[in-house]
């Protein structure tokens, strides 16, 4: 069962435009929401993250918007560049007494920024 639903599956944005990727969740026990960026042949790399008590976090061109009541969060990439072309995964962290922290990943969004 997919605990974190991510959309769109793929996205094409022109250089300079805004890329928006959305995620939704149901489990209110999630306590941390990171975004990962993955280039082909590489492991995912932490991009930016937010806690549920914050509505927005900005780091450079990357912003997370978090809506706790709607159980949704989104990644905005401002002034998108061809170098941003990658697959982006949202995730939500949970705690399990048997295995400790675990990350639940969305299915990923393949972003292509055209010149």
């Amino acid at each position: 069962q997919q605990q974190v639903k991510q959309s769109p599956q793929s996205l094409i944005v022109q250089k300079g435009g805004i890329s928006i990727i959305n995620c939704a969740y149901e489990n209110t026990a999630f306590d941390y929401f990171p975004w990962y960026q993955q280039f082909p042949g590489k492991g995912p790399a932490l991009l930016i993250a937010i806690r549920p008590d914050v509505s927005e976090k900005k780091e450079g061109r990357f912003t997370i918007s978090f809506n706790k009541s709607a159980k949704q969060f989104s990644l905005h990439i401002m002034d998108s560049q061809p170098g941003d072309s990658a697959t982006y995964f949202c995730a939500a962290r949970s705690w399990n007494s048997n295995s400790g922290y675990a990350l639940n990943f969305g299915k990923g969004t393949s972003l292509l920024v055209t010149p």
């Binding site: 941390y32 990171p34 990962y36 042949g41 590489k42 492991g43 995912p44 790399a45 932490l46 993250a49 995964f89 995730a91 048997n98 295995s99 400790g100 922290y101 675990a102 990350l103 990943f105 969305g106 299915k107 990923g108």
Partner: protein, 112 residues
């Protein structure tokens, strides 16, 4: 942040054989995670490896197929046993540190 070295980075294996993937972390961590990422798909957690105890496997993954070792706080191995073409995937190890999870570069496995 943590630096994770994973090897091999890729391998092509014959069906029926086994491959052991190694994961080395530059700092001591309690838990290490092993994921599988099938082509074009998201990451699926295989198991969580705690040092000094048996690994905890997620639904659909069993120890006989994916035995894990965790001999110390900086190292773990995942073995993919009796491989079939369906095991062709990227395998990633991960640790959780501070506010984030960090991943190795992955092992791209092709079973022929």
């Amino acid at each position: 942040s943590a630096v994770i070295s994973q090897k091999p980075s890729r391998d092509i294996c014959q069906r029926g054989t086994s491959l052991t993937i190694q994961c080395q972390v530059d700092s001591q961590v309690t838990m290490m995670f092993w994921y599988r990422q099938q082509p074009g798909q998201s990451l699926t957690l295989i198991a969580t490896a705690n040092q000094g105890s048996e690994a905890t496997y997620e639904s659909g993954f069993v120890i006989d197929k994916f035995p894990i070792s965790r001999p110390n706080l900086t190292f773990s191995t995942l073995t993919v046993s009796n491989m079939s073409p369906e095991d062709s995937s990227i395998y990633l190890c991960s640790v959780v540190g501070g506010l984030g999870a960090f991943f190795g570069q992955g092992t791209r496995l092709t079973v022929v």
